[in-house]
Symmetry: C2
Subunit: 245 residues, 2 copies
């Protein structure tokens, strides 16, 4: 944990160096979902002459709202509390997998939705082991969530996750809007519980108040945050119009 | 953890014994907020002849939806992972306070709202210790949430909490609606993130489909779940009409 903190600005400056290396000096648009939208928006205030358009999908908006930031803190707390984390100096062969799994369970659940969990179902995970009979017996939805988490947790590094969370908690471009020359298209998902649509609506209001051009296109869907990845077809004509205008 | 599981039905049967002891054989209405509403609804199917009316405030509805149930699992996981919990056999002088605090942090955050957290603010908790400078430096909203949690966590017993969560996860009266003779009034809060209004709306639909009388009155408010406790004045005339009809 001696590594200095990194920020979304650092991510964007690194991406800029890559573009410089490739000889690219102007972009048609910068686009991204979720944390990627934060980077896209950061691009527009960091290198305004390069960015005429920003497409921000399932976005936190122009900063991380304290509610979303507090939820992110809930993601990191079980890692910090895992004895295997050891103040960040864990053995890479024995990482804080329990803490990382809890973090990922909460993150995954929030990225899903009532409808998706409803499909997982209310039944016992095992008919012979009903949840009414013992605390050790699980519901199906919880067991399915555990499966998803157990498959993904070993691929994530705990310290990297903690630094990433802090980077996004520090994301805030609100006092730099006057530097932007971009037009913005926000595309929230109506059932998103990670970054609900009102955060995009607030961002559009703030950009317009700063004299910038911003619009919102609501993606329909009952799949929550992840619909931002799967429901983009709905935005085809809106995206085409936004890119050619 | 050798104690048998308890259910919302058990809670209600115990309350019935108290009423029997007091010589009360009919109630004007049974009312409660949140988990209290689950008990009120359970009353109406358990002792239908005693319950003409149910007032269900910030309610999960007629069962705990798998999403809410999965979130409750996220509350208990940090307790189970706390070494001090010791499989439930903890020293009462050294309880699993870290796990209980994490549980309570998530529960408290979910019971609040974007507007309440927005008021907590995005600033550093300590101006001299900016969150951009070190992982050890906190944001104000997170620090205020920690204060709330640290004040309340020592008053809660971890095993009691785990049994309570399981009791509510098992709550489901859907197959017993035909036994009810009650009329129902659901009062969700528009900004509730624990039991969002659509859960009450679904309950009203299901009750009507079962031939029962059910109505919904939406409490306005930006305070989240806890507005179910503070905003009841809005329902004064609706409640009066419901109780005399």
């Amino acid at each position: 944990m001696d590594f200095p903190l990194v920020t979304v600005t650092d991510f964007v400056r690194l991406q800029k160096r890559l573009l410089d290396h490739l000889g690219i000096d102007r972009l048609v648009a910068v686009a991204g979902p979720s944390g990627g939208s934060a980077q896209a928006i950061q691009w527009s205030v960091e290198y305004p002459e390069m960015v005429p358009r920003v497409i921000a999908v399932i976005s936190p908006g122009l900063y991380i709202h304290p509610y979303a930031a507090a939820m992110m803190d809930c993601w990191t707390k079980p890692i910090l509390a895992d004895p295997a984390w050891n103040g960040g100096h864990y053995d890479v062969a024995k990482p804080p997998l329990e803490g990382m799994s809890q973090a990922l369970r909460l993150l995954t659940l929030t990225a899903l939705s009532y409808d998706v969990l409803g499909e997982f179902g209310y039944a016992p995970a095992d008919e012979a082991r009903h949840p009414a009979d013992s605390l050790a017996h699980e519901f199906k939805a919880d067991a399915m969530l555990s499966e998803i988490v157990q498959a993904r947790a070993p691929a994530l590094d705990a310290n990297s996750f903690i630094y990433m969370v802090r980077a996004f908690k520090l994301y805030d471009v609100r006092d730099r809007l006057h530097q932007s020359m971009a037009r913005y298209l926000f595309m929230p998902v109506e059932s998103d519980l990670v970054f609900p649509p009102h955060l995009s609506a607030t961002a559009v209001e703030m950009l317009r108040a700063a004299g910038l051009d911003a619009e919102l296109f609501m993606l329909k869907g009952n799949g929550g945050h992840l619909d931002g990845l799967t429901q983009m077809d709905q935005a085809r004509s809106v995206l085409c119009a936004f890119l050619v205008n």
